[in-house]
């Protein structure tokens, strides 16, 4: 008995790690294994692809684009987060909640929204605005605005995490502006840096928007070798090597800057100081905030207007429901699996168990890797007669989501645990509770809200996913985002716009429900 009990932790963490390994590492490594084993010339072709100048030019362009989009997102998001999170702007909570909406759509759909606004025949479009939209600058603007809510919400969360006493002590000796700039922002800087990292990652790996706006980027070069007529998988594999390097550098930055407690910045404390008074600036500040919020919501409003103008909402009815149900079922199943794996591995990460760094790194790389590559690898690994029950049904998508988004669940639960007194767990150990009993009896229930938050976050990521699902969703299991994407080819614009709005509305509903569950006061 005690043999198994002593190994409970190794077994459970090992199982979660194995799941991650099977879902993420094996498929990603497969391209290289396949290329090396089956076809040595493919290796040479792959190397040749890397030796050319073109990929490196594209890489530089992609990095620049992502950096510019990040700068824009921070420039807009950080002041917005400060004003909405910490000052007495009217309706600040509502504005923050509204900003969550664009985050729930694949950026490609936001790009479509901007197109309906600023395309040459858009609502306020002209030839000049069209030219700006379909350029590098346009891509930076679309992506920067799409990801600005990440910066504003993380900044606000980081500010709420600042010790109220620290702020109040400063308020005694300094005015609100000085407190905000000299005390609050520096104290919340890890949150801002984290936002920068996330926005950069998302912008760098974005495929849909640059393709739509005809801006050439690196991920498109990889994709062209997988989606095109010739299936140059070895080349695609080799072309991802620079992406790995970028990913490893980002991971290194994150680890050295935050000692991997980065997601802990999103921690919520019980008490926060009263909002900073703005005095005469209150009205202009509120106006700016709401204007900025409106700007971030503009593509969704534009989609809604486009849908309304063409009678899209009634026409969308016949397309919407089955895929909405698919999205919901897949999202729930994947989020639940992610919550379980995230809880186990997040706990291991928070407790610095051996091997957790490797697993965390693997999860981070799978998040950054081109989804196309992951999809091809998953097909190759899992499409075999014995695993038909996985590949032939929605389980394969759940597995894909697990691979791609486990980092979200792991990090968010680890952050929750970072604020959870270790003594609570140690006491349970001293009182005779083994790993499973501690985990199920103390860690999970005492952090139920944190677990729920991790679930919701994982759900939103799966819900808005396009690039993973699109490549290997099983027949009949098309999620809504994919349906919008494939319908966009030839369906009337109004229908596509209406479906996009439905996607946003459904997210709002899910988030609101989740928030209600999450907010319900614990009985203790």
């Amino acid at each position: 008995m005690s043999f198994w009990r002593r190994r409970e932790e190794s077994l459970v963490v090992g199982a979660a790690g194995l799941a991650l390994f099977l879902a993420a590492f094996l498929p990603l490594a497969w391209t290289f294994i396949e290329a090396a084993a089956a076809d040595p010339p493919a290796l040479r072709r792959g190397l040749a692809a890397l030796k050319a100048a073109r990929p490196w030019i594209l890489l530089g362009r992609s990095l620049t684009l992502a950096a510019a989009a990040t700068a824009l997102a921070l420039l807009l998001g950080v002041p917005l987060g400060l004003l909405l999170g910490k000052t007495e702007v009217w309706g600040r909570r509502l504005a923050l909640a509204l900003q969550a909406l664009p985050m729930s759509l694949p950026p490609f759909l936001l790009g479509l929204g901007w197109f309906y606004l600023f395309g040459a025949q858009g609502f306020v479009g002209s030839e000049a605005s069209r030219r700006i939209l379909f350029s590098e600058l346009g891509a930076v603007l679309v992506l920067g605005l799409a990801f600005a809510p990440v910066a504003s919400s993380l900044t606000a969360l980081g500010l709420w995490g600042v010790d109220a006493a620290l702020e109040e002590a400063a308020r005694v000796v300094a005015g609100p502006v000085r407190v905000a700039v000299r005390i609050l922002l520096p104290a919340a800087w890890p949150a801002v840096a984290l936002a920068a990292l996330i926005v950069f990652t998302l912008a760098f790996s974005e495929l849909g928007v640059p393709m739509f706006l005809r801006v050439e980027v690196y991920p498109a070069a990889v994709f062209a070798r997988l989606g095109g007529m010739d299936f140059a998988i070895a080349e695609a594999g080799f072309l991802t090597i620079p992406l790995w390097l970028v990913a490893i550098v980002l991971l290194g930055i994150e680890r050295s800057l935050f000692r991997r407690r980065s997601f802990a910045v999103a921690g919520l404390r019980g008490r926060s100081a009263a909002p900073l008074p703005l005095g005469r600036l209150r009205f202009p500040a509120a106006a700016c905030c709401w204007l900025a919020t409106l700007l971030l919501l503009a593509p969704i409003l534009s989609l809604a207007a486009r849908a309304g103008r063409g009678g899209g909402f009634s026409a969308a009815n016949q397309w919407l429901w089955p895929s909405l149900a698919n999205s919901l079922i897949l999202g729930c199943a994947a989020a639940s699996l992610l919550a379980v794996v995230g809880a186990v591995l997040g706990h291991a990460a928070a407790r610095r168990r051996p091997g957790e760094k490797i697993l965390d790194g693997l999860a981070a790389l799978a998040f950054l890797a081109p989804a196309a590559l992951l999809g091809v690898g998953l097909t190759a690994i899992w499409n075999r007669p014995p695993t038909r029950f996985i590949y032939g049904g929605p389980a394969i998508l759940v597995l894909g989501f697990l691979a791609r988004y486990s980092i979200v669940a792991i990090r968010s639960f680890a952050a929750v645990l970072a604020q959870f007194s270790r003594d609570l767990e140690d006491t349970a150990a001293a009182f005779g509770a083994g790993y499973l009993r501690r985990f199920l009896g103390i860690v999970l229930p005492a952090n139920f809200r944190g677990l729920a938050a991790a679930w919701i976050l994982a759900f939103v990521f799966c819900w808005r996913d396009l690039e993973t699902a699109v490549l290997f969703y099983p027949a009949g299991w098309e999620p809504l985002t994919v349906k919008i994407f494939t319908l966009e080819a030839n369906a009337p614009e109004a229908v596509v716009a209406a479906l996009s709005v439905a996607q946003a509305a459904a997210t709002a509903l899910v988030l609101a429900l989740g928030f209600l569950v999450w907010r319900r006061k614990a009985p203790w």
Partner: protein
């Protein structure tokens, strides 16, 4: 010779690459309350975690009733098999469990039948004047009540020994006084060995049968309050003893 309940033999322990315990040897006899006194940063809490089995000694051994449970960098017995109980400074009451749930958790882990559990919990709650509070959550209790729940939770397990890691540090003077009395009475009537960690000589003196003084990871002196006062082994002891002068050296 009697086998000590807790014995540390030449223990070395590093905390974040800094030596926390350096060649420490210490014994707690059966039924004895040993007060471990030391300034903050002296390695007291490391010692508690070491005995619990949450960390392994770099060198040396930890024995419980003669059995080696940790030795030379290895934990031979994990915490959950050591049959110890602990009260931490923050009490670490599980916020999501009721008073009853808090007491029951360890008993269930031991696999006791329900009747036995209920009996023990009932007696313990009665003993500590906590009747009627079973269904409260820790957040709904007063500071004194929480202290009682924490000690009840430790004692109800009938452990081999109890570790108390500055459990009273955050209480006001009168409550502290009362709780010290409760602790001592409970420990003595069960003849339990206990290690009481504190930085307060007054607490150490009122509770401990013996006082062991820990400084920078080493034991500098062991003895009764009188012995400490008459021949202080270090500046720290001297200063503390001086402060205590007005107390007259008597036990509470």
């Amino acid at each position: 010779m009697v086998t000590p309940a807790i014995a540390l033999e030449e223990v070395f322990l590093n905390y974040r690459d800094v030596p926390a315990l350096a060649g420490l040897t210490l014994e707690v006899q059966p039924g004895e309350i040993l007060a471990l006194l030391g300034p903050s940063g002296s390695g007291k809490s490391s010692l508690v975690r070491l005995v619990l089995g949450l960390v392994a000694p770099a060198r040396g051994a930890v024995r419980l009733q003669g059995e080696a449970v940790s030795r030379e960098g290895r934990i031979l017995k994990p915490p959950e098999e050591r049959r110890l109980a602990v009260v931490f400074q923050d009490l670490a009451l599980w916020p999501h469990l009721t008073v009853r749930g808090n007491l029951e958790f360890g008993l269930k882990a031991q696999g006791l039948p329900a009747a036995e559990r209920n009996g023990r919990i009932g007696r313990m709650l009665g003993r500590l004047g906590l009747q009627g509070k079973e269904r409260r959550f820790p957040g709904e209790l007063s500071g004194g009540e929480r202290q009682r729940v924490a000690i009840a939770r430790a004692m109800v397990l009938e452990p081999r020994a109890v570790l108390l890691d500055e459990p009273l540090a955050s209480l006001d003077a009168s409550l502290k006084h009362e709780m010290l009395f409760v602790f001592r009475e409970l420990l003595k009537e069960r003849r339990l060995a206990a290690l009481y960690v504190t930085h307060d000589l007054r607490e150490a003196a009122s509770l401990g049968d013996r006082i062991a003084v820990l400084e920078r990871g080493r034991l500098v002196q062991t003895g009764s309050l009188e012995q400490l006062r008459e021949a202080p082994g270090s500046e720290f002891v001297k200063a503390l003893a001086g402060d205590l002068f007005w107390m007259g050296g008597s036990r509470a």
